[in-house]
């Protein structure tokens, strides 16, 4: 089974891209990774359609952990999850963790083959070292 996938959802396309760069630097290609940022017109905000696309791109049977920044990113991600098939919905979680630091930690955990629960927990236990 593939490693757990990571999806990064930020209000800012730059933050999302930069975070993905930092994740790639840590885990290379070992972890399915996708990101999105910006509202449907490209301004600061999030887009349910883009989130659904990112989930699809990072999908693996081991599940997907989503990292979000502020309120709207979380609400839109929850909305996106509810629009998925029941089958996928059970294998996707939103981490209650900061987007940049959480994504690096979650991906590092995922690269070791950890379960979705373990990936979520590692991201959420995060305190700066």
């Amino acid at each position: 089974m593939s490693n757990v996938g990571i999806v990064i959802v930020s209000h800012s396309a730059d933050v999302a891209r930069g975070t993905a760069d930092m994740v790639r630097q840590m885990v290379g290609g070992e972890v399915p990774l996708a990101f999105c940022g910006g509202d449907p017109d490209g301004g600061l905000g999030t887009s349910v359609e883009a989130i659904l696309g990112a989930i699809d791109a990072a999908w693996t049977d081991a599940g997907v952990a989503i990292l979000v920044d502020l309120g709207g990113a979380e609400t839109n991600s929850e909305m996106a999850i509810e629009m998925l098939d029941a089958d996928r919905r059970d294998r996707i979680v939103i981490c209650n963790a900061p987007v940049v630091e959480g994504a690096v930690m979650a991906a590092t955990e995922a690269s070791g083959g950890s379960s979705l629960d373990a990936v979520k927990q590692t991201a959420e236990e995060l305190s700066q070292t």
Binding site: D41, V48, G71, T75
Partner: protein, 214 residues
Amino acid sequence: MPQPETRTDTATTGAPAAIDEPTRRALIEALAQAMFAHADELTALDQAIGDGDHGLNMKRGFEAALADVDGLAAKPLPDGLKAMGMTLVMKVGGASGPLYGTLFMTLGKALPVEPDRANLVAAFGAAIDAVKARGKSDFGQKTMLDVLGPVHEALAEGSDPKAAADNAAEATIPMLATRGRASFLGERSIGHMDPGARSSALMVAAIADVLEQG
């Protein structure tokens, strides 16, 4: 101020006039025009206690709805509401997108094709509960819910929903925000109207105006 009791509702059945295709089209157009006309005001309110995009967000959502007005109006009321909600979910881009989207989608799920007032009150209650669940929020937190709640009460008791909405939006001014971006400001959120409360009041007024003329 128009009295809702004098509307075209048939008192005996409690049923409003059927919401036919031309009415559905008029509703979508009125909602869109209200958001377009007040986009700058909503943005200014959101600049004061948020990130200053609420007007833009709502405009984007209703531009998309308006672009599909033929398709939306052609659907039976429940399906039209669901499709409208989905459009807002996909296009608004802010927290208000999934919240208003959930409101419309739940109305679509809860309403029959030809609703009476009791159906409307029940559906609106269900929609408010769905918004609360989506937003992990409740009344009293200085959000759109603080307009939607009083409008629901007004519908239930047959008083004027427009007046209720306007008063409720005004009443968010002294509130302390504990949800959404305005909560980041803590005490400084006090003294400003919540942008989502204002957009809710504008939508209620737009809908009431169309149905009163209808």
